[in-house]
Symmetry: C2
Subunit: 341 residues, 2 copies
DNA sequence: CCGCGTTCTGGGAGCGCTCTCAGAACGGGG
DNA sequence: CCCCGTTCTGAGAGCGCTCCCAGAACGCGG
């Protein structure tokens, strides 16, 4: 039980004195105790407990040049990012993995280009050991800012072309997952398979579209519609599809939210799913998948796992163990068959 | 333009040498330059620029015992907290105010009681100058944990009884806002005014209920329904109300989401709003208010401002300027009249 | 019982910064 | 022209910790 010394916090010096050893030995024990004989370890441990000693982080950082903190940079060009469930899951994964590494999460909220200088200074100021960011639009200047801070960084999501390709990233196999989704529709016997894609400036949307095209090499462009990842845009795209290509019997939608919208339109028009039109989504978001009817067949990706992986990659390069390890990771996806296809 | 010295980062010493002054003077300039003659200030400033000097945070913290970081503690007893728009706005306000104070936001994600020890150690370890937390349920052990860390803390939302009442908090005038809402219904001429409240273990819900009762001292208990702040629960409560008290002609709903649900039920049943039943919500959440029909009359509260206020209170007590300043703040609310009442 | 190799331990330097305090510089009045 | 008060400046001491390195302790073979 820590003593109730209300005064200044005990230092290593105090612990050492109480344990009857030198500061160096006390330090060794606090840092794992390797190379210290058991009886002494025990004595120091007890002193630590009795004094309620907690290492001074600043002092430690000063000499080790490591501070056990990682910045998570959240840019907000649109403005829902923070409340996006996808994002939330990823941050949760990051937070958990960081905790496992005894590192802290420092949130850097970027509100616009005006913030870039502040961010650069912060990143360059040695407050954090590394940074995690999310590749958003291709015209984003943020990656350059981070690059300028000369600090290790790992991106969530494949960066858009134009951004330094050497920056490591973690992304799921968007293209492969899309292929699997489309193949599933083909195997079901669908003949006119449409695709509702996401915005062309997001690599995930582009990759999924590529996957669709990989399987359906010469798909009629009329079977292609572009949405913006919102439920509403999915509903609209589906309506247009139905209007222009009444023969459509399968549709691969680039994310679950748009797929949900498509399902709504289908239902409104009295089209049976999956009998008349089979639908496959992407993401496997619990919040969406659970409430559609019929239950949505979709491509699952391990979002939390991707967050954790981002941290692992970053930690590896911080440890210097980075060489010989793949820079970027593409995580596998898997098709989850439910009722819609 | 900073020099491209790839080596170790320049120290204050280097800046001083280049500017031809002592380290002390350089330090003074870096920290505002008070009491240093203009020509010297200029010289030091130039050296800083040329060298690309950035102060070492750890070294500074070591001596000042201040590290310019504040923990935001997010507990996740339920699990949507992070993606809650209310919460998002509050964190945004916090983030902005923190930036204005040149302080950083360290996110502490608490996943359960198992994390409490970790949190306590972190808070006690001097990593952050203070903490911000949100008062959730009354059985939450977190406040005690924070208390134990002997670190200044400010709560978002009035803490439940049972939690040390000396802990400062920021909350909006739930009770007063509710009174205003109900009075508005009275003035409109409503005779049977119902209330759909939130969970009894949340102080905001309790306070709003109190406000309702303040105005309608002897309201029939049958006019009271308890929801859980979700849209669905609001719809259900409204249906029950209609079934049991068909004479209801006004309803004050404890939050916008439930009000939206109530509106849905009303519409389904063909009840005209506000002609047959007038509805007033609480929160004035942009995401809800915009899409209801008719547009929702509701009680506005400045959520972002509350976040900022939390930081201001914390900063004041960190600066020691805290004495004589109110510990907690109740921010005003205002009724926003739209179409539903 | 001594000498040498090996394992532990402690002294001390130094990480980069702030801040106190003494001394330098300066200016004005006598 | 000198003296004293005021404003600036710089030397130096530490903040609490890690880690290098020298030396102590220990064990074993001869």
């Amino acid at each position: 039980m820590p003593e109730q010394t209300t005064g200044p916090r005990p230092t290593l010096e105090a612990v050492a004195a109480r344990a009857g050893v030198s500061r160096a030995t006390a330090s060794r024990v606090v840092n794992g105790g390797a190379g210290v004989r058991p009886p002494l370890v025990e004595k120091v441990r007890r002193a630590v407990d009795e004094l309620g000693y907690v290492p001074n982080h600043a002092a430690r950082t000063l000499v080790t040049r490591r501070n056990g903190a990682v910045a998570v940079i959240i840019a907000e060009p649109e403005f829902r990012i923070f409340s996006d469930p996808f994002f939330e899951q990823q941050v949760r994964g990051i937070s958990r993995e960081l905790t496992a590494h005894d590192a802290q999460l420092v949130l850097l909220w970027v509100e616009g280009p005006g913030d870039h200088e502040r961010i650069a200074r912060y990143l360059g100021g040695g407050h954090v050991d590394g940074a995690l960011a999310f590749s958003l639009h291709s015209d984003d200047a943020l990656p350059a800012v981070i690059e300028g801070a000369r600090i290790p960084v790992v991106l969530g999501g494949r960066p858009a072309p134009g951004i330094d390709p050497a920056v490591p990233f973690v992304d799921c196999d968007n293209r492969g997952g899309a292929r699997e989704a489309v193949r599933h529709l083909v195997e079901r016997g669908c003949r006119s398979i449409a695709h509702i894609s996401g915005p062309a400036d997001q690599t995930s949307a582009v990759d999924r579209l590529h996957g669709y095209r990989d399987v359906l090499i010469d798909a009629d462009p009329a079977l292609l519609r572009v949405g913006d990842f919102t439920e509403e845009s999915g509903a609209r795209a589906m309506a247009e599809l139905l209007d222009h290509r009444p023969d459509v019997d399968g549709v691969f939608v680039a994310n679950d939210l748009m797929a949900s919208g498509a399902l709504l339109t289908l239902r409104e028009r009295g089209v049976r799913v999956p009998e008349d039109v089979a639908v496959v989504g992407f993401d496997d978001m619990a919040s969406v998948v659970g409430r559609t009817s019929p239950a949505l067949t979709t491509v699952h990706q391990d979002i939390e796992g991707m967050g954790r992986l981002m941290v692992k990659l970053l930690m590896r390069r911080l440890d210097g163990t980075g060489s010989g390890i793949p820079d970027s990771v593409i995580t596998p996806t898997s098709l989850v068959r439910r009722a819609s296809a």
